[in-house]
């Protein structure tokens, strides 16, 4: 075991050395990448500061009221709530892509688990059982994706799109079969866990007065960071994506590591989809369904977060924060901008961020089929 771990580490280190060399050769590109991320962070901070100054100068102006919305406890609370499905899908995506399998079907995994969780909760009468059934459904679909990509060498992008489209058809189909409508019945929502005293802190109190999935999200982010960076399995995952040949030479089965990573993305997306559905206690399956692009936003979130779970959490909070603000703006009509246009804010933000970050350094062997030398 220790031998394997050490050699796995060596393989991962090899990958990281290559990483450094490759970043070194394009200093300009490196700077641009850094400046893209820095630019977004600075722009966000500057915008907040500007709003704050305006709010102090003219608290009753629409800008002042906008600032009031942005820094309110309820906006932070909504941001956390909206972040949950995206963060879980993003961390799952990190595992899969780090191991060399680009999982663009996260959206489909969220959709299938959102429906299955509601159906499960409805049939069993237990939210926990519903969650498990949602996770199971998402993991089974992820397993199909893994077999198709790893065993049958399917193109990962096309197979991922297929996963999305299958779920996009299957969930409303199943809902129609069971409930006679693309929307399911209501099963009730999760309550909140309130931590006494801490919940009364202004603004940050939202962190201590939230639904269970929010706490689980923070635990998962920390856990994923630890697993990826401090355990043998994490090193194998990174090595499978960076330098599968070295991992193979070290005696670790590359395919098995990749299967495990893709299944993890299924489990995590399953939790995310279930949390999303339990948020309103229902699955709605019209058009793009209630998931509505969150799986794709998750991909941008982890690219922007540079495959770091903590970074993915940060960029998700940015997108979800914008979404929370736009939801509040819709109800308050502050800037006089029509709802439809306000709703485009998160999507446009994703495009802008992607354009600023530009090329991301993806794992060396991501997207490639790996054939073990033994065969």
């Amino acid at each position: 075991m220790t031998d394997d771990a050490d050699s796995g580490e060596a393989a991962a280190d090899g990958g990281e050395t290559a990483d450094r060399e490759r970043t070194g050769d394009g200093l300009g590109a490196g700077l641009r990448r850094l400046s893209g991320r820095l630019l977004v962070a600075l722009a966000t901070a500057a915008l907040l500061a500007l709003l704050g100054v305006a709010a102090v100068v003219a608290p009753e102006s629409s800008v002042g009221r906008l600032f009031g919305i942005v820094v309110s406890t309820s906006t932070l609370s909504a941001t956390l709530r909206l972040s949950v499905p995206i963060v879980f899908a993003a961390i799952g995506g990190i595992f899969a892509e780090k191991s060399g399998v680009i999982n663009i079907g996260l959206e489909g995994l969220l959709i299938i688990s959102a429906f299955s969780a509601v159906y499960g909760a409805d049939v069993t009468g237990s939210m926990l059982a519903g969650l498990l059934i949602g996770v199971l459904a998402s993991t089974v679909l992820a397993a199909v994706f893994a077999v198709v990509c790893i065993e049958y060498r399917a193109d990962q992008i096309i197979a991922g799109l297929a996963v999305w489209l299958i779920a996009l058809g299957l969930a409303p189909f199943a809902s129609q079969v069971v409930y006679g409508s693309p929307n399911t019945d209501s099963v009730g929502t999760l309550g909140t866990w309130t931590i006494p005293v801490l919940a009364d802190i202004p603004l940050l109190g939202a962190l201590f007065d939230a639904a269970p999935p929010v706490y689980l999200m923070f635990v998962t982010v920390a856990g994923a960071w630890y697993v990826l960076n401090r355990t043998a399995f994490g090193r194998w995952v990174r090595a499978a994506g960076e330098n599968p040949r070295a991992l193979d030479t070290a005696g670790v089965d590359v395919s098995r590591v990749r299967y495990a990573a893709v299944l993890i993305s299924g489990v995590l997306s399953g939790i995310g989809g279930a949390a999303l559905a339990f948020n309103i206690g229902q699955f709605t399956g019209n058009g793009p369904t209630m998931v509505n692009g969150k799986g794709f936003i998750a991909i941008v979130a982890y690219l922007f977060g540079n495959y770091n779970p903590v970074g993915a959490l940060g960029s998700t909070m940015l997108f979800a924060g914008l979404d929370a603000v736009q939801l509040r703006l819709q109800t308050r009509q502050i800037l006089g901008v029509p709802d439809s246009l306000v709703q485009t804010i998160p999507f446009v933000a994703v495009i802008v961020v992607l354009a600023l970050v530009g090329r991301t350094r993806i794992p060396e062997a991501a997207g490639e089929h790996y054939e073990s030398g033994e065969e």
Partner: protein, 434 residues
């Protein structure tokens, strides 16, 4: 085997990124690289093999679809089950579903008194017409190594621009002269609108290296929202509850040749679609632009070396791809709807399947579009004639893409069932995947 070759090629690319110029093209986001490999591996497959794989994928999808229908039929509750075994009651009849889906879409050709002008066949052909455009749109981008998931958004934008342009110009004209001027004008407007909307991800990819898979998906959402705002706040038909523009005058819509005008199908539009197919085929195979585009898709480094401006090729391909999607939107407005209304069907996403099924070949897109025309048209017959939810077609769409994406699986099965091998394991191999 071809995947291995592609893998090696990519490894080489990664090693020689010292050149400042080369690194941009070689080391870009991985998705186009994968596409290139896919394109290479598909090009490596012979036409016959591709056709076999496509047919096998359709058959397997129908098989899995049957399993889903049966499973759904066991879960659903109904008053008159088609089959009862003990406590189990099967509510859906899978044979009836596929009978309605395929024969229903064609207007029951086996039942005597069949005329190709029948209403359901007209619906099938009309869906086929729009799907030819969206399939071509995806295929053209694919040939350039670009994955355009944004055909749907480009179609929506093209449809609105087309409707508004024709509404604006219609009062000045009337009668046959109106038809002759307004339809080309509407098509042009749709192409310009869609082309413009396709150019946005093109510019973002070419000059900011933003991955087009994500940007085009995001732009689909943006298109729906912006279009909803424009129509509801500025161009709303005051006499309607739905979010829609005023109706176009009759003379501004495609004339129905032979078919009943109430069926919203025009042979002229279908003929135009087929002419565009030939045009795109010619463009890809016989012009220098088409050569540059395909080279950029297959061998970006070689294309760059040969003097192809890759950034401009990316923008041009996505613009042209968007224009084709926009044309689809214009045809949707000018032939089917006669106005613009929000809630446009997912022709763009079906276009992805059409293109992948056709191996990104423009001629093949005609047949793939017809298959999906049958599925779309048949889904309404299924909805009408059975209790099975019409969303089944959406599931089949995803399954077909999944199976076409894994040619290796069918090669494996093929090798096992070839007589030389005499391996009895073919069936278990196939079943394991379901």
């Amino acid at each position: 085997m071809s995947a291995d070759g592609g893998g090696r090629g990519r490894g080489d690319d990664a090693d020689d990124t010292d050149g400042p110029g080369g690194s941009d093209a070689d080391d870009g986001s991985v998705l186009p690289d994968r596409l290139r490999e896919y394109a290479v591996s598909m090009a490596g497959a012979s036409g016959g093999e591709r056709l076999l794989i496509a047919l096998a994928a359709i058959a397997l999808s129908i098989l899995v679809g049957t399993v889903i229908v049966v499973a759904g039929g066991l879960i659903a509750t109904c008053r008159t089950p088609v089959l009862t075994v003990g406590d189990l009651a099967l509510c859906y009849d899978p044979v009836a579903v596929y009978d309605r889906l395929f024969f229903g879409a064609l207007g029951d050709p086996l039942s005597g008194g069949w005329s190709p002008l029948n209403a359901q066949f007209a619906v099938t052909l009309r869906e086929t017409t729009v799907l030819i455009f969206t399939g071509l749109s995806v295929a053209l981008a694919f040939r350039a190594g670009i994955f355009n998931i944004g055909t749907q958004g480009q179609l929506v934008v093209g449809a609105l621009v087309s409707a508004l342009t024709v509404l604006w110009a219609a009062p000045a004209l009337s009668g046959t002269a109106g038809t002759v001027v307004l339809i080309p004008l509407g098509l042009l407007a749709g192409a310009v609108g869609g082309g413009f909307y396709g150019a946005i991800p093109g510019v973002l990819k070419a000059y900011a290296e933003a991955n087009e898979v994500i940007t085009t998906i995001m732009l689909n959402f943006v298109a729906v929202l912006v279009v909803r705002y424009l129509v509801s706040d500025h161009f709303q038909d005051p006499g309607s509850q739905a979010i829609q523009t005023a109706s176009l005058p009759e003379y501004a819509q495609f004339p129905a040749l032979l078919f009943d005008p109430r069926l919203d199908f025009s042979l002229v539009a279908l003929g135009f679609a087929l002419a565009v197919v030939v045009g795109i085929y010619y463009l890809l195979s016989h012009t220098s632009f088409g050569f540059d585009l395909r080279t950029a898709g297959l061998q970006p480094a070689a294309a760059e070396y040969g003097g192809v401006d890759s950034a401009r090729t990316v923008v041009a391909s996505l613009t042209l791809s968007g224009a084709l999607g926009g044309l689809g939107g214009a045809v949707y407005v000018l032939m089917i709807l006669g106005k613009f209304q929000t809630g446009v069907p997912s022709y763009g996403f079906d276009g992805i399947t059409v293109s992948i099924l056709a191996g990104n070949n423009p001629i093949g897109a005609i047949f793939a579009a017809f298959l999906f025309g049958v599925l779309q048209s048949g889904s309404s017959v299924v909805d009408f004639a059975t209790d099975v939810p019409p969303q089944l077609v959406g599931v089949l769409r995803g399954l077909i893409i999944l199976f076409v994406a894994m040619p290796e699986f069918f090669r494996l099965v093929g090798r096992r069932i070839t007589p030389e091998d005499r391996g009895p394991a073919a069936a278990p191999g196939g079943a394991a995947d379901d």
